[in-house]
Amino acid sequence: MYKNSINFMLLFSRQGKLRLQKWYVPLSDKERKKISRDLVQTILARKPKMCSFLEWRDLKIVYKRYASLYFCCAVEDQDNELITLEIIHRYVELLDKYFGSVCELDIIFNFEKAYFILDEFLLGGEAQETSKKNVLKAIEQADLLQEEAEAPRSVLEEIGLT
């Protein structure tokens, strides 16, 4: 088992519906389901005034609620909770900038964009770009590309790269 700073990231609604999940550690589907079910339950049971961290198994869970959505990251023991919180916040800011006052439904409707933004921001569990401007620029470029050149994209898709 190799280490990452972020092991996984989950977005779920107040009703406990998983809206987005990104796993940076290899886990079986069953494990993922179990983990997300566990965590969603634990976090939803916490009162709103409670702090954003909890210790769970051998990981630290950092979560934050934005409107009706919970953003939840699992980090390693030595990691800095506050910077993780910052990462979550940065991601929300990115979503907000991109979608324009982001809302849970945006993430359902344009889930691929939400994933894409996450991929531009985090790579393999590490923050890859700390500048919001750069991330958004990359996403805009990619959007343009998608419009212009559907063809090479679909080739990639066939191979299973996207």
Partner: protein
């Protein structure tokens, strides 16, 4: 065969790989075509081989050739073959090669595309892939674009993890990246090296100066945190580093405003000390250094804890607990602060504070802290937290053999106080503490026994409440202590009475058993006391009490209680007999319980010598021989295999049987009126059979025309309606005034009186006509018709103004045109009424009532559209032989009866007497529904009066909008999410400016006019769904901010989507 393989691999050595191919093509600039044709021949040969690696290589080359524009479709089969090979590596490799090559060869079309490939790669790096791709990625690390460099650097980390050998060659380049001009790349490199260093710090010591420079120069907190983390890992290996770091770290702690950075610094300082506890500085400076270090850290942590932010508080406490391990003193001075945290509303903070307290107690402050905690126990709400407090109090007090307790009387009273807690689960914990203290601290026994006797006396307080079940465990300890140390009891008789109360029988069995046993002990002590007296009757009374009360326990259902009780009962009876003979029995009875119970040290067993001749390692019985089991193994395999088959068959039968039973049960449940049936959950259906077809389609079964089926937010309609009515009322008033002015003669009053009031009740019918899209079923014709008649009667009086509500629905051009036509007719009619000239009267009203979709047809045939037309005779004459005809287009055809030609009209199956209206339905067959359609048509009819009949003709246009092909279909949010995830929907979006209406009206409007249903709505954002008659899914995401409405839409048919969006846009452009 073997030979073939050998041959294959030898051949392979001479095979060109992709690189060779590209090089070759470059070298053969003049005769490229020729070179490639030889290459293709080679590839063909390679593809014929059995070796999948060879094939993969061939396919790699093919992909490149295809990119150059050569046709490689002949190899499609082989490509599929390679793709389906079990080795995923090949696929990815092909993909990535293809990719990297596109980028490098065709002039970097898109750095972003490579980015995508790299991002994808990060998800599935395997050791194989890592080995194969390490070189390529390393090359990308020096890409001209920082975007690619950054990604490549990060991916490299994954590669290192999977294929550590790649680290050595790549490291110099990675080091270079630390000084990359692009901050993104730089931070990525720092990231990777930090992560690597965390795993194996030794190898990265040489980088320390470089990082030191970065740390002092960088302003990026993200990078700083990583660097500090790295130093945290390095310091233990190089003590001098720690000394050097102090200054910059202290500076950072003082200067930074970023809490995350501060926290990281403090943590590193703490952890750093943790590891290298050995002094590496001269003693005098060490003391100063440590003092400064911790003073500063603790001071900073105090700021964190005092912060109002819960998160900082929590982290502060967490860090404090780390300091506590090494420097309890420096934390102890902040006791007040930590005790304050016990009042926090956040439970996790309180628990952290409790943890800290555990480590902070000393002999001096224990009582004070526990007193505080007891206060909290009283206030605490929520049993879990209170239980936690309780266990913590006991933990704190009992830690390391009651090291900090100076006064055990105090502790016993704390324990007794704790028994007053409501609903705790930890009765047994308190009980064991009581027993432990009473047994081990001899000096306390008198006090303990007195306290326990009181507890037993007041036992009813504990047993009364069901909630307090847990606490009655304490009685176990109380009874035992009172019995065992009964010589210290002040009033043993009273305690004995308390123990033999009938109420005791309600206690759990194991407690009753202790009661009975200890009652006997008490009895023995009592006897001894009483026999010393001269009065013998007291002793006999005591025996009598036992004999009276014990039978209750003899009847107990609990075996233990029963056994002990009957045993002791017999004993007491015997004693009584002896007493009656004046025999002294006390000494003998007491001998039953003689001997003192001494505490035994946990290691005491070690001191007991092993008896001679006992060999603890020797087997008592011969162990089962291993060879035997080995012999059996093959048998077991066969034995296993055989029943497996039969079992499998068995389960199959079972499954069928089960299904049958399930069916039967369902039947039964269906027939059982008392069984609440599970509502068919769409979600489940969806899961069982994935695919968008399974979005539940509710059969539209209309009985009232205005009800839009399956729309979850029907109340929005009500609002919309109300709003509209209000508007109309205003308009009507205006009109009335106008009318009164114009027609003072009272003409038209006839029209006013009836229909006016009629309109008040049924204003929606205006919309009906105008929108032309209300779904209608056969059953509902009649009520509609009557209203329509009223409508029609009224409108001439209101003249053109009657159209005003129509302006809300402007997207139907044809309806406008038709209305114009109607107006003409109205004019005619008016004239005719005036002049009383019947010949001038034409007067047929026709409403194209809506391109309504035939529901039945929809399920079997998604191409049928039913148009309902209302004909109304407005003249005084009889209308007959009406013929409806439409000019068919390529796409849409009017369904005519068999045998009639493509241009024949359809005769309307009724005649219209004056003033009567009726509805006819015409079925159209549509090939494609992605575009709106306009059809021209004519209606011919004969007006017949007493003496003559005239032919008349009415031209009209039928407008089929795309929205009219949509059916309101409810969709649940899960199904909606699944549909979107399926990923084969095309995207489009539209922005509406200056829409000034409440959001729910806006949604209602879209639902109403375009047949959508709201899937989910959150604040000013809503997702909507609809489905076309041909099963296209249309999904909308509507958001508003201010007066701007943005609609994102997805549909599997882009043309349809575009048209629907245009129509929506038009709906709102007119309001």
């Amino acid at each position: 065969m073997a030979l073939k393989i050998v041959k294959g691999s030898i051949d392979r050595m001479f095979d060109k790989n992709l690189q060779d191919l590209v090089r070759g093509i470059r070298n053969h600039k003049e005769d490229e075509a020729k070179y490639i044709s030889t290459c293709i021949d080679e590839i063909k040969q390679e593809l014929k081989q059995d070796n999948i690696a060879v094939k993969a290589n061939a396919v790699c080359k093919l992909t490149y050739l295809q990119m150059l524009g050569y046709d490689v479709s002949w190899a499609a089969f082989n490509i599929v073959e390679v793709m389906s090979s079990s080795k995923f590596t090949y696929k990815v490799k092909i993909g990535l090669y293809a990719h990297v090559w596109i980028c490098q060869e065709i002039g970097y079309i898109s750095q972003y595309d490579t980015g995508v490939a790299l991002t994808g790669l990060s998800c599935f790096v395997t050791p194989d892939l890592a080995r194969d791709l390490a070189n390529d990625i390393m090359t990308l690390m020096s890409h001209t674009k920082p975007y690619i460099r950054k990604k490549a650097v990060l991916i490299m980390y994954k590669v290192f993890l999977k294929y550590p050998e790649s680290l050595r060659p790549a490291f110099p380049r990675l080091k270079e990246k630390l000084e990359d001009p692009d901050p993104g790349v730089q931070s990525a490199a720092v990231n990777v090296i930090c992560e690597l260093a965390r795993r194996n710090p030794k190898n990265y010591l040489s980088l320390a100066p470089l990082f030191f420079k970065l740390m002092t120069s960088s302003t990026n907190n993200w990078v700083l945190i990583k660097i500090i983390k790295l130093f945290g890992a390095l310091t233990p290996l190089e003590p001098r580093l720690g000394k050097k770091l102090i200054e910059p770290l202290t500076n950072l702690i003082h200067s930074t405003s970023a809490m995350s950075l501060l926290y990281e610094c403090v943590n590193t300082v703490i952890a750093g000390h943790d590891v290298n506890g050995s002094p590496f500085l001269p003693p005098f400076s060490l003391a100063l250094f440590l003092f400064l270090r911790f003073q500063l850290c603790v001071q900073k942590l105090r700021i964190l804890i005092e912060d109002s932010d819960q998160n900082l508080k929590y982290l502060g406490l967490l860090a404090m607990s780390k300091i506590l391990k090494t420097h309890p003193k420096s934390v102890q001075s902040h006791k007040d602060l930590i005790l304050q945290c016990l009042d926090d509303k956040d439970e996790s903070i309180r628990l952290r504070a409790l943890d800290l307290l555990y480590g902070m107690v000393s002999k001096k402050n224990l009582m004070e802290i526990v007193k505080k905690l007891m206060l909290h126990v009283d206030k605490a709400e929520g049993t879990t937290y209170r239980d936690e407090l309780l266990t913590k109090i006991i933990d704190i007090c009992s830690q390391s053999n009651y090291q900090y307790i100076t006064n055990f009387e105090w502790y016993i009273s704390i324990l007794v106080e704790l028994t007053r807690l409501e609903g705790t689960r930890h009765g047994h914990l308190i009980a064991s503490q009581m027993l432990d203290v009473a047994i081990r601290v001899k000096a306390i026994r008198v006090f303990a026994v007195a306290q326990m006797a009181t507890l037993l006396d007041n036992a009813h307080l504990m047993t009364g409440n069901v909630q307090r079940k847990g606490i009655c465990e304490v009685l176990y300890a109380a009874a035992w202590i009172c019995g065992e140390f009964s010589e210290h009891l002040e009033n043993p008789m009273q305690t004995l009475e308390a123990m033999l109360r009938p109420k005791v029988a309600t206690l759990p069995g194991h407690i009753q058993a202790v009661y009975v046993q200890n009652a006997a002990k008490l009895f023995a002590t009592l006897l001894k006391n009483q026999e010393g007296n001269t009065d013998r009757t007291a002793a006999q009374e005591t025996s009598q009490l036992m004999i009276d009360r014990l039978p209750l326990f003899v009847q107990s259902a609990n075996l233990e209680v029963q056994e002990r009780a009957s045993c002791i009962l017999q004993l007491v009876k015997y004693i009584q007999k002896l007493q009656q003979k004046d025999v002294e029995v006390a000494e003998e009875v007491i001998a039953l319980f003689a001997g003192e119970l001494n505490p035994v040290a946990p290691k005491a067993q070690k001191k007991v010598p092993v008896p001679e001749g006992l060999d603890l390692d020797a087997w008592i019985n011969e162990p089962p021989s291993e060879s035997e089991s080995e012999d059996e193994q093959p048998k077991a395999i066969f034995a296993k295999e055989e029943p497996k088959h039969s079992r499998a068959r068995h389960t199959e039968v079972d499954e069928k049987e089960l299904a049958k039973r399930r069916e039967a049960r369902k039947q039964e449940q269906a027939n059982n009126p008392f069984y609440i049936k599970a509502s068919p959950s769409s979600q489940k259906v969806y899961q069982e059979a994935p695919g968008v077809e399974h979005i539940p389609v509710v059969q539209i079964d209309l009985s009232v025309p205005l009800k839009v089926p399956g729309l979850p937010m029907s109340d929005q309609y009500v609002k919309l309606e109300e709003e509209r009515r209000q508007k109309e009322r205003v308009e009507k008033k205006k009109k009335e005034k106008k009318k009164r002015k114009e027609k003072r003669g009272g003409r038209g009053k006839k029209h006013d009186s009836g229909p006016e009031s009629e309109e008040d009740i049924t204003p929606a019918h205006m919309v009906d006509i105008v929108t032309e899209e209300m779904p209608l079923a056969d059953s509902e014709k009649l009520p509609v018709r009557s209203h329509r008649a009223a409508e029609a009667l009224k409108s001439p009086a209101e003249d053109g103004d009657a159209e005003s509500p129509a302006s809300q629905e402007p997207k139907k051009k044809s309806s406008k045109e038709k209305r114009e036509k109607k107006k003409d007719k109205d004019g005619d009619r008016k004239v005719s009424v005036k002049n009383g000239n019947p010949t001038r009267e034409t007067a047929l009203w026709m409403y194209i009532y809506g391109a309504e979709i035939d529901i039945q047809g929809n399920l079997q045939d998604g191409s049928q559209v039913v148009v309902s037309v209302i004909f109304e005779n407005k003249c005084d004459n009889f209308l007959k032989t009406m013929e409806f005809n439409v000019l068919d287009s390529l796409n849409s055809k009017l369904q005519r009866p068999e045998g009639s030609g493509p241009h024949d009209g359809l005769s309307v199956p009724f005649q219209l007497p004056p003033g009567v209206s009726n509805e006819a339905r015409f079925v159209f067959t549509m090939q494609s529904i992605v575009m709106p359609q306009k059809l021209k048509g004519t209606l011919t009819f004969i007006i017949k009066n007493e003496d003559s009949s005239t032919h008349e003709k009415l031209d009209f246009k039928l407008h089929f909008t795309c929205s009219s092909y949509l059916i309101t279909t409810p969709c649940y949010s899960d199904a909606f999410a699944k549909l979107l995830e399926s990923g084969d929907l095309k995207c489009s979006s539209v922005r509406l400016e200056g829409v000034n209406m409440p959001f729910h009206h806006l949604l209602a409007r879209i639902c109403f006019h375009h047949h959508f249903s709201v899937v989910e709505r959150i604040d000013s954002c809503a997702s909507m769904y609809s489905r076309s008659i041909q099963g296209h899914h249309v999904c909308l995401l509507v958001k508003t901010s201010g007066q701007t409405v943005s609609i994102d839409a997805k549909c599997d048919e882009p043309t349809l989507l575009g048209n629907v969006l245009d129509e929506i846009k038009q709906t709102f452009s007119q309001c």
